[in-house]
Every structure is written in C-alpha cells, then in structure tokens.
Amino acid sequence: MKKPQRANFSFYLAILTLSLIVLLLFFLSLILGSESISLGKIATAFKEKDYSSFVLTIILKIRLPRSILALLSGALLAASGTVFQGYFRNPLADPGLIGVSAGATLGAVIFSSLSLFIPIGAFFGGLMAASFVYLIAGGSKTSTDSSRLLLSGTALGVLFAAITSVLLILKDKEIYKMYLWTQGSFNAKGWNILFMVLFPSLLSFFLMFLTTKKLDLLSFGEKSAETLGLNLQGTKLLCLTSASLASASSVCAGGTIGFIGLIAPHTMRILFGSRHKKLLPLSMLFGSSLVLFSDILARKIAPPMEVPIGIITAFIGVPFFLFLLRRGRQDG
C-alpha cells in the first residue's frame, strides 16, 4: 500500500507547488511591466482608491486582463499538447503540428486584409484547419491511423502557410503586422479578448479532462485499446476536437506561441510519468507558469518596447527542454 500513497503524495505536492508558482508569477505580472511602478506607489494607489489614477488604470485595466490571458493561454497550449501527444502517441506532437497554428495564421491574415477583427479570424481559421485534417485524413470509419492524421496535418499546415505567404505578398502592407502577429504577443489584448475565448477555453478544458482515461488506454496501442473496450472513433473525435478548440482559443488570445505545447507536457511526463489524469493538470500549471514568466520578460527586457513572446518561449523553453532530455537519458 505504501507505493501508491507515496506517488500520490508527490503528485499533490507538485500540484501545490506549481499552483503557488503560478500565483506568484501572476502577482508579479501585475506589479511588473514596461512602466516601473514601485510597490509603495501601488499600495498607496489601492488605499486611495482613485480609479482614474494611471497606476490603477495600468494595473487593473491593462495588466490584469493581460495576465489572465497569459495564464489561460499557457494552460490551453499545455493541455492541447498533452492531448495531442497522448493521442498520437508521439512525444513530439505539438498543437502546431496538426496544422491548427498554420490555419489560425491564415484566418488571421484573411481577416486582417479585410479589416475585420483578427482574433476571430484566428479562432475560426484554427478550427477550420483541424476540421480539414479530420475530414481528409480521418473521415472513414475504418481509418484511425494516427500517423496518417499527423502527416496530413503537417502537409496541410505547409499548404496553409503557403497560401498565407501568397496573400501577404499580394497585400504587402500586411506583411510586417502579420510577421509580428505570428511571433505571438499579449500586447493590446484586454478584457474583450478574454471574454471571447473564455467559453471555448473552459469547454475545451472540460472535454480534455474527459480524454484522460482514454489516452491512458490508447497508450497500449490502438488494437489493445479496442479490445479493452475503447471506442476509437469516439476517442479520436473527442481528442482532436477538444485539443483543436484549446489550440485555436490560445492562438486567438495571444497569437502563435510555440514550444509551450511541446515542452510543458513532455517535461511533466519526464518528471511525473504518463498517467494522463495527473499529467494534464500538471502540464496546464506548468504551461501557465512558462507563459506568465515569458510575458513578464517580454515587457521587462527592453522597456517600453515589447519583445514578441514567441521568441522568449523559444529561448527559455528549448535549453530547459534539452537539459531535461539529457537528464532523462542519463537516468534511463
């Protein structure tokens, strides 16, 4: 009886620690930003309750929605990465791999050139891409081959990127704006974006939590999982829909931010194993921490300029990940 208890204990300890880290980073995200405002000034501003003062304006109207979006985005990316990696049984699966990011970018570019609201274009572009992949590669009842899905996703992703490039060349004024958008940023993202993505995000979290047991079964291989009673078609639909919804929502919130969907679940898997019921919440917390931390850096590196967050996630994520891979290899 001892082993399960100890395993559970370390899991709950990890959840607690990560939650505290997320809270700390969230708090830091509120008090740190491009404008250096001392803690004393913040405390005074809250005491005086002058809501028109620029300190409270910046903290409550700019930094607060932005921090929530960063936290949410990190969780969405990590969760969708977890589900994609679990479903494809491929530790390199990333929300971008299935073509969702490329589709979202295409949607964003189309909406931008028509002067429509870009995040909505991104959201529907991402969903459209996921539907295409599912229709083309996974439509028939007999076909559940996950590598076929992955390949189609990659191929379609390349096609969407090519179409995007053509559009950008034809409308060359859009090029620079879209280049920045594809680097990812929470700049100028406020309450309206948050309200837009809140429902789809929460729905996707709910659906992804439903996939956990199925993903565990799937890890034994499709044939074995089927003999154990898993409905392959239903699982595919659930996994891909929920993860694509999460991925599209995160692109809508912050543009295309790479590496989180790859690194967060993978790191947690190396440290805590592959049981998805544990892996999912751990990845989400870790993903939120990474994105919150990156967003703070994005604002603090060269104020008042903001560095695109995708660049920062690459710089901190990749070495961290390589370090963990090496450690994993030495132990195993």
């Binding site: 930003g33 491009s34 404008e35 028109s52 003062s53 620029f54 304006t57 910046i58 109207k61 700019i62 930094r63 929605p65 002067s115 870009i118 060349i169 034809l170 060359d172 090029i175 620079y176 704006k177 920045l180 958008w181 940023s185 700049n187 100028a188 406020g190 309450w191 604002r299 104020p303 008042p304 300029m305 903001e306 695109p308």
Partner: protein
C-alpha cells in the same frame, strides 16, 4: 587509415571547399562604374520619385512603382509594380534599360549588387533623420551637377513650416509634463507600434516643436507597451489618414480615457503620403503637425 578517419577527412574537405567558395563569391567586389551622363532613371521609392521631380529631373524618369503617385506628372510614367522589392521582377527593372536606379536600402538592398554588376548605377536611400533627407538631396544633385537646385529645394522645404525651438532629448523626461507637447504617432494598433528615434518621423515631430513620446527607443518602428502610452500621457495623438481608427474608437480603448489627448479630443489624422515619405514634402508634413498642435 580506418573508415572513421576517412569520413572525418572527407567531411572536412567538403566544409572547407564550401567555405572557400562562399568567400570567393563575397570577395568578387563591386564593379567600378564609369562617370558618364545619366539619362534613364528607374525609381523604386515614392519619396525618391518626388525628389527627382522636385529637382527637375522628372524627364529622366523611365519607370516608377505603383505607389509613386506624386506629383501628378509621375502618373504618366510607366509603373513596374508594388513598393516591396520582392513583388516586382528584377527583369522588369532591366527592361527599362536604366543607367541609374533609385532604391530604398531596407526594401530593395538585395538588388544593389545585381544591378551594379550589370553596370547600372544605384542610388541607395536610407533615411533615419531629417538631415539625412537634405544630405541625400545634395548627393543626388551632385550626380547631375545641379547643386543650386538642391539648395533651393532644401530652402523650400525649410520655409514650409515655422521654425521652433527644438527639445533637448538629453534633459527631458518623457514621464513628466514639460514645456514641449508630447505626441504619440500610432503606426499600428495590434500590437501597438510607434516610431523611435531612428525614424525620420521622430524628427518631424521634434522639428514641429514637440516631442515623440517614444524617442528614447532607438529602433525605427518599435512595438510599444500599451501601459507606456498611457503612462507617458501624450497631449496629441497622430494617426495616418488611411487608418480606420479615430478619436471615438481610441476613446473606447480600456484605460485610454485618462490620456490628455483623448480627454481634449486631440486625435488628428495626417496624410500618410506627406508624413511617411522622406521627400520634398516633408516640410509640409512638419507644418501639418504644427497645425495639429494648435
């Protein structure tokens, strides 16, 4: 020698050979261009087209871009496409048989070597300040031996606006109020992009007698933080005329209501062609900013 050593040696030879080839390609150097009378000019820059006409060289222009729309005489010159160097063919440039190509180094710099190797002279424009505009007008005039016309053009530009005391950026803090009006020029709003000190628009604002709130950033078109816009509290916000935004849409932005420019309804649009072209009409752009400041 065993197989492993052989592999390393062949790899090293390939790498070394590639490196030498690459160095050879770069070391070719620029072909010397003989000094001769220039009579056929292709302009790949709207500002350049305006400058050429203003210097009286419009007759020599054989091709322009779609964006070269001023002066009206420019429209009767053949166009070879959009502004971005990647969207028109080098062949189209060559089809006009130019002996001088006027191009913007940031947009079409990659064409320079090709053109020079074909014996075509290239005038590269790279403007980061108002002084750069004057310097290039003089350099262009030197090529055609029309020094007098250059000086006349520069005087015309400087006469277009009221000379004002210029802010000393070393001593002024952008966070506080001071005797210079603070201006925010919004290039784009998703994400927020403005101009920094290496953009000539920064100089336009300074010459008009005001300060660009992001003049402490060295980059030309930096992405800026929304909270900095609010904290630096500009008294005037300028938008390009083709922007879909206006005072109303800006006043709806969360947190912007406390900005002076929003409270005083000082959100003014300026003709993009005037202010974003570092050419002969830049003086009029400065005057437009001064009028906006009233």
């Amino acid at each position: 020698m065993n197989l492993k050593n052989k592999k390393w040696i062949s790899v090293s030879i390939v790498v070394l050979a590639s490196a030498l080839l690459c160095m050879g390609a770069f070391a070719r150097g620029k072909k010397e261009v003989e000094n001769r009378t220039l009579s056929r000019i292709v302009s790949l820059s709207p500002a350049g087209t305006e400058t050429l006409f203003a210097l009286g060289l419009g007759d020599l222009l054989v091709a322009r871009t779609d964006f070269c729309n001023y002066p009206p005489e420019a429209l009767s010159v053949n166009s070879l496409g959009g502004f971005d160097g990647k969207t028109f063919s080098l062949e189209s440039v060559l089809a006009f048989n130019p002996d001088l190509v006027y191009l913007d180094v940031t947009m079409h710099g990659h064409l320079t070597d090709n053109l020079q190797n074909l014996g075509i002279q290239v005038f590269e424009t790279n403007i980061a300040s108002l002084d750069d505009i004057y310097k290039e007008v003089r350099e262009l005039a030197l090529l055609f031996d029309i020094k007098q016309r250059a000086e006349e053009l520069i005087t015309t530009i400087q006469r277009a606006y009221t000379p004002m005391p210029l802010a000393d950026m070393q001593t002024i803090s952008l966070d506080t109020e001071n005797e210079y009006a603070k201006v925010y020029w919004e290039v784009w709003n998703a994400p927020y992009m403005s101009v920094g000190s290496s953009s000539f628009i920064n100089d336009v604002i300074r010459e008009a007698g005001a300060i660009n709130i992001f003049s402490d950033i060295a980059a030309a078109y930096p992405v800026v933080s929304e909270e900095s816009i609010i904290a630096r509290n500009p008294s005037l916000i300028l938008l390009p005329a083709d922007s879909p935004e206006n005072w109303e849409s800006l006043s709806k932005r969360t947190g912007w209501q406390s900005i002076d420019a929003i409270q005083n309804k000082k959100v003014i649009k300026i003709d993009g062609d005037l202010i974003s072209r570092p050419g002969p009409r830049i003086g009029e752009a400065i005057r437009a900013v001064q009028e906006a400041l009233q």
